[in-house]
């Protein structure tokens, strides 16, 4: 296509939208609704995931060693564990530290309790590694691996919590994917409908264009411009709406349920929108393009 035709194509695309204003507005409205929902869903998921990450960080695995194990062997075990990809953190807790933590957690007067036992550490054989994983899904395999290392007496993990968090994580992932796919299909269908009406209204004009010798690309281009513009407007509106709403909603929620603030950290708007804005605009333009491209391919065959 020539450069001089691009201006013409754009004018025709905008003309199509104006001539077909009601349907164009309906399409824009649907995309706004879909992408707005998408944005809300995305915001919820991102926050939910970040919360899960926090919980995951708190799910730890404790590894205890055989009685009378040598320090060198503990170092060897440490190396074997540390080289695993799924390990996020690894801390060594010596027997003394373990006793200190235990006494502080379980006695009203830990100092007195420690004096009672004197030099005899009741947890003498309870030195351990405390490990957190990057993703709790791997926990079962990891526990099996660590248990098989020589010198490891016992591996303690919270199988129940880990499984639940992993399952929830997966569920949220699949559910959001499903909803998003449905929303996209609806949007593409509606754009396709709008373009079909535009093509039907201009059937005569299109036939004349083709008889005069217009290339298929030339005939299609205004409709594709129309689709992309609808997608662009339809995605810009929810971007603006979501941007102004996000902080307001968080402030409202935190103000209303102040308890949330201590256990839940909201993802800041900046971080969220850095990803969300290009994503929404890209999706809007993408469905606009795809919808019009498929429709023109189907209806403009001669």
């Amino acid at each position: 296509m020539r450069i001089s035709s691009i201006g013409y194509t754009f004018r025709q695309g905008i003309k199509n939208i104006r001539r077909n204003l009601l349907f164009s507005l309906a399409s824009i409205g649907t995309i706004v609704a879909c992408l707005f929902l998408f944005g809300v869903l995305y915001g919820v998921i991102v926050n939910f995931r970040s919360a899960i990450k926090n919980i995951e960080g708190n799910i730890s695995i404790s590894v205890f060693f055989d009685a009378g194990i040598a320090d060198e062997q503990i170092d060897m075990i440490r190396e074997q564990i540390r080289t695993r990809d799924e390990v996020a953190t690894l801390d060594y807790i010596s027997a003394e530290e373990a006793w200190k933590q235990f006494s502080e957690a379980n006695y009203d007067d830990p100092e007195a309790a420690r004096e009672t036992f004197g030099e005899d550490n009741p947890l003498a054989n309870s030195a351990s590694f405390t490990i957190t994983l990057k993703d709790v899904t791997y926990q079962a395999d990891f526990v099996q691996f660590v248990s098989s290392i020589k010198g490891v007496r016992k591996v303690k993990s919270s199988e129940y919590t880990a499984n639940n968090v992993a399952a929830l994580n997966k569920f949220v992932g699949y559910a959001s994917l499903g909803i998003i796919i449905i929303l996209f299909l609806v949007s593409i269908f509606l754009i396709s409908n709008t373009i079909t009406i535009g093509i039907t209204v201009r059937k005569e004009e299109i036939r004349i264009m083709k008889l005069i010798g217009a290339t298929n690309a030339f005939v299609r281009a205004p409709f594709i411009v129309e689709g992309i513009l609808i997608g662009l407007v339809g995605s810009a509106i929810p971007v603006v709406l979501l941007y102004y709403m996000y902080d307001a909603v968080i402030n409202y929620v935190v103000g209303r349920f102040s308890v949330l603030k201590s256990i839940f950290e909201f993802v800041p708007a900046g971080d969220l929108f850095k990803v969300l804005v290009p994503m929404l605009l890209g999706i809007g333009v993408g469905i606009g393009f795809l919808g019009s491209w498929l429709t023109t391919r189907k209806h403009l065959k001669v």
Partner: protein, 228 residues
């Protein structure tokens, strides 16, 4: 310029619109194709513009062998053809100027040529002063002359006119036919499908007569033969 060899067109419904038709039209000829409705005239035109693909036979137009034509070459062939329809087929929400310019835009003619050629073409068809009018403000004859300007502005090798005078009174009919004759005199091949006996008989051009999908006569300087 136009060659058909043993062309048969059978529609999926089973109707045979053209049966084993062969004909040849030379460059610069003026030809009438006549026949009653259902004779296959319109099918013949649709084959020539490649809106239809024949069931059998060979078609060659303006140097393009349609049997070997690739899809992306179709626009190229059509740019060598100019069309005139019975019902004008102007775009109603565009002015006379825009309707003619449209033909150049769709083949991506640079804007500076459009600005020069469209007024020149409107002068040829005698509508230079009406360039701002919309089709509904024009008479049938004027609309057909706009359509003619649109067909001519891309300087086609062949003009195909489908009942160009079907919706016109006698005076406008002659204006349009005279224009077509002028264009032909300047070297453009003209093919007119019609059943207007008066003009066919008066103009003494080559007349090809179709009946039920078969050529029943092909006469130089002929007239309209009554089928019965």
């Amino acid at each position: 310029m136009i060659t058909l060899e043993n062309v048969t067109m059978k529609y999926p419904t089973g109707t045979v619109a053209l049966k084993d038709v062969s004909l040849h039209i030379d460059k610069g000829e003026f030809v009438f194709i006549v026949g009653s409705s259902g004779s296959g005239k319109t099918t013949l035109l649709e084959l020539l513009v490649r809106e239809l693909v024949p069931t059998k036979g060979k078609i060659e137009v303006a140097g393009y062998n349609y049997n070997k034509l690739k899809k992306r070459q179709i626009p190229k062939v059509r740019r060598k053809l100019g069309f005139v329809f019975q019902n004008f087929r102007l775009i109603k929400d565009r002015t006379v100027y825009e309707n003619v310019a449209f033909a150049q835009r769709v083949i991506e003619t640079p804007a500076r040529y459009i600005r020069r050629q469209v007024p020149a073409m409107l002068t040829v068809v005698g509508l230079a002063d009406k360039y701002k009018s919309y089709p509904r403000q024009l008479s049938g004859g004027e609309q057909q002359r706009v359509a003619l300007a649109r067909a001519l502005v891309n300087k086609p090798d062949i003009i195909l006119a489908d009942e160009p005078t079907g919706n016109l009174d006698s005076k406008n009919t002659w204006e349009v036919m005279n224009l077509l004759e002028d264009i032909n005199a300047k070297g453009t091949t003209v093919v007119v499908v019609t059943h207007n006996k008066e003009i066919v008989n008066a103009m003494k051009k080559r007349v090809i007569m179709l009946k039920k999908g078969v050529i029943i006569s092909d006469v130089e300087k002929g007239g309209y033969i009554d089928e019965d």
